[in-house]
Symmetry: C2
Subunit: 279 residues, 2 copies
């Protein structure tokens, strides 16, 4: 569809009562994997858009912010991030950012191999990130993959999951965080996406509380995400060794959103969020 007078529009409901709409030039891909519906749209405003089960996973226009901010607040603190694990992230955006760091090996485990295949077809960064010699891909459930790893294997673990419904539900459970902790090096760092403070504050609170019982330093942080619900997104940082507001960070890599002052500012919480989380 690319007619002058007939316009197609996509709508995503952020709640039953509100959401985002944008114009679609054409549908580049539409398929169904064993786990979810996978769609790639060419949008007029945001470039290519990846949808899973009808929800925006990324747009070419603003994905850099989410992916940089899932990765760099952890990786920039590590001088030698030898082995890194990404759980989810089949679109390759987080992988692209991890590969900017001096890593020796990156394992990416996504339950849905179709997301990886489709992303490589439509997003140039995914093709190069997945073909990097440092990358190993495991098409497997994240929970069973983590259970099968040796203790203290990874310097950093990044959870780039979909929302905690359907396939990703188990990736927000305390038992999963315990399993992650056991395969993380003692001086390792975990970060995970933890949804919108505007719409999903209860998920952030629950996940924060679960992690607080397990790690010495647990800190929420956030970044603007224009095409995600609420326009901002939360993340959680967890580590026994690193305090993200005090540890020195590297800046010897390219970025469009992240910089060392952003590393500090992202962890500063508005008053209502401090109250909600009891910090």
């Amino acid at each position: 569809m690319n007619h002058q007078k007939t316009h197609l529009w996509f709508q995503e409901y952020h709640t039953p009562h509100t959401g985002l709409f944008f114009r679609v030039e054409k549908t580049l891909y539409c398929g169904k994997s064993d786990y979810q519906e996978i769609v790639v749209l060419e949008s007029t405003e945001f470039g290519r858009v990846l949808l899973l089960d009808g929800l925006v996973m990324l747009t070419e226009r603003d994905e850099f912010i989410y992916h940089e901010m899932l990765v760099h607040p952890a990786l920039s603190l590590l001088t030698h991030p030898d082995r890194v694990l990404i759980i989810g992230g089949g679109d390759g955006g987080a992988l692209r950012e991890v590969l900017k760091h001096p890593v020796r090996q990156v394992d990416l485990v996504d339950i849905d191999g179709e997301v990886i295949r489709v992303s490589q077809e439509f997003f140039p960064w995914a093709k190069s990130a997945f073909s990097d010699p440092r990358t190993s891909v495991f098409v497997e459930d994240g929970v069973s993959f983590v259970a099968g790893q040796k203790p203290k294997t990874y310097q950093a673990i990044l959870v780039d999951s979909t929302d905690p419904v359907g396939p990703a539900k188990a990736l927000f459970e305390k038992s999963f965080f315990e399993a992650i902790r056991s395969i993380l090096a003692p001086d390792g760092i975990l970060t995970l996406q933890s949804e919108s403070w505007f719409y999903h504050l209860n998920i952030l609170k629950r996940t924060y509380t679960a992690l607080k019982g397990l790690f010495t330093h647990v800190r929420p942080y956030w970044a603007p995400t224009p095409t995600y619900p609420g326009g901002s997104w939360c993340f959680l940082f967890a580590s026994d060794a690193y305090n993200p507001e005090k540890s020195p960070c590297r800046s010897n890599f390219q970025s469009r959103y992240f910089n060392p002052r952003i590393q500090r500012a992202a962890f500063v919480l508005p008053e209502f969020l401090k109250k909600a989380l009891g910090v």
Copy 2:
């Protein structure tokens, strides 16, 4: 309209190709002033919503962020903000925040008295803010009001304008900033809303450049605004006396978004924004 099966929806186009939609319970007010169409909706998700010419000016759910962040980064630096001027802001949200500070007099000048009248009818904070004995209202064009004031009158001036089209266009011009500077005390502070970095970066750049030629310290800052285009909003801070990243700030007032650490963090710019503005 409050039926179970028939739903009304409002749409705002943020560009010709994308926007926000939300469900409407009923239209509380719909009128036309000499300057614009004024509508108040009861929405399912965001509470009451004020629209001017079909664009969301505020929602009850998230207006506190925008209004606190227009006001407190300036006012929290001033120990004795004797006289404060708000240009625009007929909805009373910025006025409410200014009145939390030890001010002796607040002048509010809005070109459209109907916005002030309607806001007082539908938004409880506006009723109390406009009836505060420290408040003086001038229904007048901001440019002519500023031209008529004595030099060095105000300790703080806050420009809470609509977008730079229609009635508010002149409020983004360099000649207006020169006039503002002349009625600002030598140790005074100006802040203004300067649109979305995601959609209106050119407006931010132009306004920033205009102010840089006039004031010693000019700094962009930003805050999340879930129901505004792009989900984040920019502001500009300008002063000859105060550096907002170094001057000590008061926190002896109630706030839901602002706090002293937010005061610092809000001025930290992402890498792409530093590049775009040449800072």
